[in-house]
């Protein structure tokens, strides 16, 4: 059976600089897949290509059986792929609630709405009228996840959720994951924290210099293999 989301021989460029050199990647319905790798390995670029923020050739990315590579980001989110961008990137002059409303712009139907997300992240309900800039880093990350979920995606792509956050906050955020995947949603997490990546995912891809250096079931890969794939030594 064809996979829900699939990249085949995916290449990506920033101007003349090539960032991805033929990535093969797949995601099934209901699955959590982690992508790890050092800085500059191409993890964020992969997510950006999947969501249309970086150009890709049409046939290199298939979602629900259709070629979506190179479509505009708005069209991709309407088809059900949502991104939690690296560094949160909340709208600074919008309140928390308005940020969530922006997430619902694609108007997809599904289980998620503001009320449910406020239950998942109660601190956001408390701060709903506050400017998004007044939130702490962890709260901003929750708001960014909530904003992405507002579009009721079938695949949630999370770029470096733990970036710059305290371990206890990271745990709090990942504790929300079962409630999200419980709705049958597939999730891709890009993580620097390898232990966390292995813990939350069923399968794992390691990228190195724009290529997949390792791929397998998260609980079967041993530390030496991962270390080799991660650092290339």
């Amino acid at each position: 059976m064809a996979r829900l989301l699939e990249a085949a021989g995916l290449t990506a460029f920033y101007g003349d600089a090539q960032a991805l050199f033929g990535i093969d990647f797949g995601l099934d319905a209901g699955e959590v897949v982690a992508i790890i790798g050092a800085n500059g390995a191409g993890k964020s670029t992969l997510l950006k290509a999947l969501t249309g923020l970086v150009p890709a050739k049409a046939e290199q990315i298939r979602f629900k059986g259709q070629a979506i590579g190179g479509l505009p980001p708005g069209e991709i989110v309407r088809r059900g792929l949502a991104l939690v961008p690296e560094g949160r990137r909340l709208f600074a002059s919008l309140s928390v609630e308005e940020n969530l409303q922006m997430g619902a712009f694609a108007r997809r139907r599904g289980p998620w709405n503001a009320e449910r997300l406020y239950k998942l992240f109660p601190i956001l309900a408390e701060k709903r009228a506050a400017p998004s800039t007044s939130l702490s880093g962890g709260q901003q990350q929750m708001a960014a996840i909530a904003r992405a979920l507002m579009s009721n995606p079938s695949v949630l792509l999370c770029d470096e959720l733990s970036l710059g956050l305290a371990p206890i906050i990271i745990k709090e955020i990942y504790d929300a994951m079962p409630a999200i995947t419980g709705e049958g949603m597939s999730v891709v997490v890009v993580e620097q924290d390898v232990a966390m990546a292995r813990k939350v995912s069923q399968r794992l891809y390691c990228l190195q210099e724009g290529r997949v250096s390792l791929h397998g079931a998260s609980d079967r890969l041993d530390a030496a293999q991962i270390s080799h794939a991660y650092f290339g030594v």
């Binding site: 980001p73 708005g74 709208f91 002059s93 922006m102 712009f105 108007r107």
Partner: protein, 292 residues
């Protein structure tokens, strides 16, 4: 002294209308429309031309300029939308120079077009005495038309602030202004959002043009000076805040009136001095958009 202040505030009302469109376009897409003044003059001449063409059919009273405004606003709205969609969107990017050059070029085209069609003679819109009527407030004579213009300016500022702060479209304006890439990731079409912002700005430009021609005269070469007033009001008030733009316009108007009172040659000059003083002492403007 009181008289000078009152006249300054009234003049500021007009400057506010000159500046609101500029403030809106800059706030949403960081685009400085250097043809702002020329478009105001174009709006005025469009109204004059429409009124001239329809003159035999129109009643000889204030209904005529009101009709001109009613006809012109939707046309200006559509024109602004099309201009942004098909011309200005192509100039936007990291580099502000293309948009400056293109709007500057448009300004030159408009000035010469108007000169060709209407000659250099100053013209105005007939107000049937409204522009000379006044009411007395505690010994100060207040012109009825300038008072109406001030009321319209305050109303337009409040309306824009409400649109920005409390509507779905305003939320989209702020979102694309904050982070265009992420706004598009949410499914917004930034090019359409920009076009709507310019459409609203052009409706305000047309309104300002008609009121300018009712209050005084317009001639094809007036644009650059009007642009300067609009620009100074936006900078003094602080970029991105409409109430700031109103405050900046009022301060500019008052300063110019004080200058005119001191010496007829000093009015506009003193306005520039205050503008430069703000740039030096408080470059972010008096009321910059506050965050958090």
């Amino acid at each position: 002294m009181l008289d000078t202040l009152v006249q300054g505030v009234l003049l500021g009302g007009l400057y506010c209308l000159f500046a609101l469109g500029q403030s809106l376009m800059f706030g949403v897409m960081r685009l400085t429309n250097t043809a702002q003044g020329d478009f105001i003059v174009l709006g005025a001449f469009a109204a004059i031309a429409v009124l001239g063409a329809l003159a035999p059919a129109l009643p000889d009273n204030l209904f005529a300029p009101l009709l001109a405004i009613a006809l012109l606003l939707p046309v200006a709205f559509a024109f602004g939308y099309g201009l942004q969609r098909h011309v200005l969107n192509g100039t936007l990017g990291r580099d502000p120079l293309p948009s400056l050059v293109v709007t500057f070029g448009l300004g030159v085209v408009i000035q010469n077009f108007l000169l060709e069609v209407f000659s250099a003679d100053p013209r105005s819109i007939e107000t049937h005495g409204l522009n000379t009527e006044s009411v007395a407030f505690g010994g100060v004579a207040v012109g009825v038309l300038p008072l109406a213009i001030l009321a319209i300016a305050i109303g337009a500022t409040a309306a824009l602030q409400w649109l920005f702060g409390s509507t779905r479209l305003g939320r989209a304006f702020r979102a694309v202004s904050d982070d265009k890439e992420i706004a598009e990731l949410m499914g917004l079409d930034a090019r359409k959002v920009y076009a709507l912002a310019t459409a609203i700005a052009f409706a305000l430009i047309a309104l300002a043009g008609v009121l300018q021609a009712m209050r005084t005269t317009v001639s094809p070469g007036d644009g650059p000076l009007l642009l300067l007033f609009a620009f100074e009001a936006v900078i003094i008030g602080g970029m991105g805040s409409f109430w700031g733009t109103l405050a900046g316009a009022l301060l500019l108007g008052i300063t110019q009136q004080i200058g005119f009172r001191l010496d007829p040659g000093w009015g506009i000059w003193l306005g520039h001095v205050v503008f430069l003083a703000v740039l030096v002492l408080r470059p972010q403007g008096l009321f910059p958009k506050t965050r958090g």
